[in-house]
Symmetry: C2
Subunit: 348 residues, 2 copies
């Protein structure tokens, strides 16, 4: 990346779980940063952060913060993006937004670069980064869709608490200690910060991620369904999702079941397309107990796929076990990838 | 139960995780026990156990142990059942076997009393208790199958470590403490005791329960598929399963997706049949965040169902979230229920 003309970058939400990862990746990936501006809420402003051995001070995000910014990476929640992303665009920045604020807007591309990179060029100043659970699933589905066609997707997720932010990590740690000490567990955050009831996540499973919609689905489930159709350009693809929060810190796993359109396929055919897929690593060998897990996928950039099996009762049905770091490929890394392709393709 | 003529009962595997629950239930359910004989391996023989305020000594299980026994409840692993269940039958006992040794044998009924009680009467001395993950699923599926027909089942499980025995609970506790102390985790048991590799379960998810079969499925997955077809008398029902071990101690959860045969159904229709189903408790109200979890279902006898939703893209597709205590309904309680019905129906 370093050979490109450097640009002025702003990170909004610089002190959050995803913002921290973004800053680290900008550094590690040699992203062509001319000047880096770190922005946050008033509460976190003033904090010091190191970037390329330079101490930077986090500033409160305001409309004027985006003067002279070329690329603004937003990860500070939907309400901040709704308020400030248009201000950034007005001042000439291109926004990569890592919240749900603009994902389903018709004039906003929703992008996983390995899947639909070319959608980026139709942007009107904002490109949306999909939900973490969506990103890893479509990365695994795209090569199969392209090679064999897909008619149906049924997914059940196994999601890490860090998807709900750093506070959720603390809640899991605290409850775990309380449980092992035979104390009552304190539940104040999960499943959803602003919701009425809170349940323990330690040594438990919560079949609720984000708030319930009128149709009985959670918002997380609707995100997976709607975002996947948009990214895969497949409004007719049937997608069904159940999203479950589990007591681990990092990386989401997904049990993905697909019906392919083509007849006569085998597991080897699915392996072949996954082996050649950008950003996907196949880890699948039952004979040596080889499969990805949340711990093995953590701190990695790729989407890992294992346990590929053909349905014994339906020739066109296949199982996949898809695991990826929810803060990296599921958030920070996908955001950086979009920004990179904006620059290298001269689509800014 | 107490009004029935009391019988002589043997519990094989009396000191194991399931055996302990069986003894407690025999007491709590006022099972008509004339004499109780507690049997185990040589290693555990000599231990003392209280039953109805009486101290009993665990004896080593031998063929002669079953002289004068009417009902023998086996939970000591498949190899013990293979060796000793025929000896018990030879001596006139009826065996309820809680291992996989006889489940798929054609002349052995495989029974969940709420689902196929009448199969019990065709026994030839042995009745098999299904696998824990199978029992709770078929209990939820049966009323739907009966009312509306089923054409397809796709399940992803969220299974507790206690399914692998008391040692697995200890491994989860120890690894959890090690992780929180920033120590390396010691993995010696899971995913499968006798298998080559062991991975940490604490703060992780392991997509392997029991050993891999030649077809790439685990034995646990094959159990769910084959046992469910047998219990539901539905060899043509398509069943696909992915089984995953998770870091909690008790109760399995299952994300079950079904295609029904009947057209035009709604969530209310599914609710109605589940509400009337024996042994099933519906806990399903998104408006009040009501759904079962492993913690809420633990130490309960019922199978709990929530998150019933119609597939937004497939009118005949429905999601269910099915949770039950794997040691109680998934093992000890189902075993006791079979023994009860043997007695009350005079099928001994």
């Amino acid at each position: 990346m370093a050979e490109n003309n450097p640009v002025n970058v702003a990170v909004v939400g610089a002190t959050g779980a995803v913002g921290e990862k973004i800053i680290k990746l900008l550094e590690n990936k040699d992203f062509p940063v001319k000047e880096l501006k770190l922005l946050s809420s008033q509460r976190s402003a003033g904090k010091k952060v190191f970037f390329n051995n330079q101490e930077l001070t986090v500033e409160e995000a305001k409309p004027e913060s985006f003067d002279h910014i070329d690329v603004a990476l937003f990860s500070a929640g939907g309400s901040v993006s709704k308020k400030l992303a248009p201000e950034a665009v007005k001042r000439g920045a291109v926004v990569v937004d890592n919240t749900s604020a603009y994902r389903m807007a018709e004039d906003v591309p929703l992008v996983v670069p390995e899947v639909n990179e070319s959608d980026i060029q139709s942007h009107n100043g904002i490109i949306a980064n999909p939900n973490c659970s969506t990103i890893q699933m479509v990365a695994a589905l795209k090569p199969i869709q392209e090679a064999f066609g897909l008619s149906r997707v049924i997914v059940s997720t196994y999601q890490a608490v860090s998807g709900a932010g750093n506070q959720a990590n603390e809640e899991l740690s605290n409850q775990t200690k309380q449980y092992l000490n035979n104390e009552e567990m304190t539940s104040e955050l999960l499943p959803v910060k602003g919701d009425e009831k809170h349940y323990p996540i330690a040594f438990n499973a919560l079949p609720q991620i984000d708030v319930f919609q009128d149709n009985g689905y959670t918002f997380e489930e609707m995100k997976m369904i709607n975002e996947s159709k948009k990214i895969l350009h497949a409004q007719d693809l049937a997608i069904a999702a159940t999203c479950v929060r589990l007591p681990f810190f990092t990386s989401h796993a997904e049990s993905v079941y697909v019906d392919v359109e083509q007849d006569g396929l085998t597991v080897e055919d699915i392996w072949d397309v996954l082996k050649g897929a950008e950003g996907v690593t196949l880890q699948d060998d039952p004979g040596t107990q080889t499969y990805p897990t949340p711990l093995s996928a953590s701190n990695q950039e790729d989407v890992f796929v294992g346990r590929v099996r053909q349905d014994l009762d339906h020739d066109k049905g296949f199982h996949l076990w898809v695991v990826s770091d929810n803060l990296i490929k599921g958030a920070a890394w996908n955001t950086i990838q979009i920004a990179e392709r904006l620059i290298t393709n001269k689509w800014l």
